[in-house]
């Protein structure tokens, strides 16, 4: 590849060979385990091998990438080529929610959950055209750094850190929860203990090497997770229809599901858009669909752990190309997820429902033991499993799918390793985003600007461990489902950060006062709606005479926060003095790829 990287180390020059060899070794490892399984090695051992060996590899990369240099720790030395940054972003992006819950959500809700598929991909178009190249040209360490520079001062910086913390912390709790589910199922320890085992896996990747270590483990994790996601579904497609392209064949599964739905008397068809529980068209469902799509897309373009990935490319041009590679690698999983859901549904409808309960397969027992995620209750005591008696949690559809379909156990272990890779990689990125904002923006920029490099890196690492421990403890209390928690994080980020970031680049007239007022008001409205409708529905009802504004669910809270953020930013900016000539020159300089950034305030430069 013709990437021009001046600081060419042996490693960056040989990335293709290194990761190609790694992918080959991983496939070999899977084949060896498959052979061992045929030779009678117990399932538990195979589960252990997958969990511990993959974590061991990530830890090894993490330790090799340890560093004591600031630019290596914060932005991986800015040597990550577009293609590999795309892979790392894919792993950073696809979390427990994408890997574990999304197909499960599609299984349960059908068309309505395609909002997640759309919302979690289309946002990259916004990242590409509105933000990524300009933030790369700006070229500092964190997203609040940009706010603090463009809006001249600590007000905007602190607001940025608060929003970042709220969104990323909600998100990371969901990841710890996912790690807990997988680890407890596959190595047979309690959920609470499993979370802390997973935590060790997260910390060992990010603590010593910061962004550099996280980048190169994320590339490794992407390879594991995409193989793990595609193999079972390709297998099933071949088994059912003889063609190994699930994205083509699940149309036939959708047709079979539709006819089984009529036979089983299901009112809400899988593929029907915007219908309520009775199968009738509903405007509330229609509005919730596009509101969710909008909030997830705008949230994508506001989440700091994603935006900071584009700080690591060698130049602006590669930052742009990197967004293309990111969405391509994400697309590979997302356009497969609906096939996963369709095949799972077909298997359950045709081989589980209507069977005698005494003869249900072994996977039912295995999964019934993990914290009430799968319940089978013979309500009418006829010994036959009815649809209403089979209650499966969305978070286990993907993980249990290979067993449901009767695939060898090695595939289950592979899927578990993939889910773990997805959750660990996202948790690493989030943890780094939070700890970097606290150590760089709060500690270094505001509390102790004279701190030495060693001291700054020590503070960063201590904060990293602290945040990780608190997140794991919160996840241990088993809060809401993964996908809902993650959607909240998107709304919070969208309402608080999108307006000041986009307007800061695209509208020179935006003033510091306008941006701060917009952030505070947009974020507050979003948080208010979320907290009130989730935790104090009676009070909300008493105040507004309705339980939801226009029936919009609180996972789309940013629908109310976004217009407020833009409106207030605009109004306050127009009422305050326009930004100085120097600040306008600064904006011009980040709009053009060539040339130096013109700093409006002396001394902000690293």
């Amino acid at each position: 590849m013709a990437y021009d990287i001046s600081t060419k180390t042996g490693f960056v020059a040989n990335l293709g060979k290194i990761y190609g060899g790694y992918a080959g070794a991983f496939l070999g490892f899977v084949v060896v385990l498959a052979i061992l399984e045929q030779m009678g090695v117990p399932n538990a051992v195979i589960g252990y091998c997958f969990v511990f060996l993959t974590i061991g590899v990530y830890a090894y990369i993490g330790i090799l990438s340890r560093t004591m240099e600031l630019s290596e720790y914060y932005v991986a030395g800015r040597v990550v080529p577009a293609f590999y940054n795309g892979m790392a972003t894919g792993a950073d992006w696809m979390s427990a929610a994408s890997f574990i819950s999304m197909a499960g959500g599609l299984y349960l809700a059908g068309f309505a959950n395609l909002g997640y598929v759309l919302g979690w991909t289309g946002g990259y178009v916004l990242v590409a055209i509105l933000l990524a190249p300009y933030l790369r040209k700006f070229g500092q360490f964190t997203v609040p750094d940009f706010l603090g520079t463009r809006y001249e001062g600590n007000g905007a910086r602190v607001c940025g850190v608060i929003v970042l913390f709220a969104a990323s912390f909600t998100y990371i709790v969901a990841q710890c929860y996912g790690i807990g589910i997988i680890t407890s199922r596959f190595i047979g320890i309690s959920f609470e203990l499993a979370i802390f085992v997973g935590l060790a896996g997260i910390l060992v990747c990010s603590m010593l090497g910061g962004m550099r270590a996280v980048t190169w483990t994320q590339v490794a994790q992407y390879i594991v997770l995409i193989v793990a996601y595609l193999v079972p579904v390709i297998w099933l497609s071949t088994k059912l229809y003889g063609i190994p392209i699930p994205e083509l064949t699940y149309g036939m599964a959708l047709e079979e599901i539709a006819s089984l739905e009529q036979k089983l008397g299901i009112l809400k068809p899988h593929a029907a858009p915007y219908v309520d529980a009775a199968g009738k068209f509903s405007w509330v469902e229609f509005n919730n669909f596009w509101a969710l799509v909008l909030c997830l897309m705008v949230g994508t373009a506001s989440l700091p752990h994603i935006l900071m990935r584009y700080f690591t490319t060698p130049n602006v041009r590669q930052a742009r190309e990197s967004v293309g590679w990111s969405i391509f690698f994400i697309f590979l999983l997302y356009f497969t997820a609906p096939a996963y859901a369709a095949f799972a549904k077909l298997e359950v409808y045709s081989h589980v429902i209507g069977q005698p309960i005494a003869q249900l397969p072994i996977w039912v027992q295995n999964w019934s033991q993990v914290g009430g995620l799968l319940t089978i209750r013979d309500a009418n005591n006829d010994g036959i499993l009815q649809l209403a008696e089979f209650i499966i949690n969305q978070d286990i559809i993907v993980l249990s799918m290979p067993e449901i379909a009767g695939l060898p156990y090695v595939i289950s272990g592979l899927v578990a390793a993939g889910g773990l890779a997805a959750a660990l990689s996202t948790a690493d990125g989030l943890l780094l985003a939070i700890a970097n904002a606290l150590s760089h923006d709060i500690y270094y920029k505001m509390l102790d600007p004279k701190a030495s490099t060693t001291r700054r890196l020590t503070v960063a690492r201590v904060l990293l461990v602290g945040v990780a421990l608190v997140a794991a403890a919160v996840a241990g209390t088993r809060p809401d489902g993964i996908i809902q928690m993650v959607a909240w994080a998107f709304s919070l980020a969208a309402a608080g950060l999108f307006a000041p970031l986009v307007l800061g680049i695209w509208w020179k007239r935006t003033t510091a006062a306008g941006a701060v007022a917009g952030m505070i008001s947009g974020f507050s409205v979003c948080l208010f709606y979320l907290v009130m409708t989730r935790y104090f529905p009676e009070t909300f009802q008493a105040w507004f005479g309705t339980n939801l504004w226009w029936g919009i669910r609180n996972i789309s809270s940013a629908l109310f926060g976004l217009p407020v953020a833009f409106g207030v930013t605009w109004a306050v900016s127009m009422l305050t003095t326009p930004p100085s000539k120097e600040m306008q020159d600064f904006v011009d300089s980040i709009r053009t790829p060539r040339g130096d950034v013109k700093w409006a305030i002396a001394g902000v430069r690293e």
Partner: protein, 89 residues
Amino acid sequence: MQESTLSREKMDNYWRKTSRLMWTILALWFIASFVVHFFAVPLNGIKILGFPLGFYFAAQGSLIAFVVLCFWNAYAQNKIDEEFGVAED
């Protein structure tokens, strides 16, 4: 890196072209993200390879459009950068 030598006029032209590209892609993004799916109910009446078309667009069609838009943006913006001589060396 070196000092950018764009005159005010040239800078304004550069930004006008960049903005036009941004708005074009934003419009296509809006169509793929929302407009198409407003018609999901009638589109579902058409079936191709078993896929109801409204379902297909939300599950695959729009996603392909997003990938193409991102790569097209990178390509077209690089062209603009070279035309104005502001591409990195």
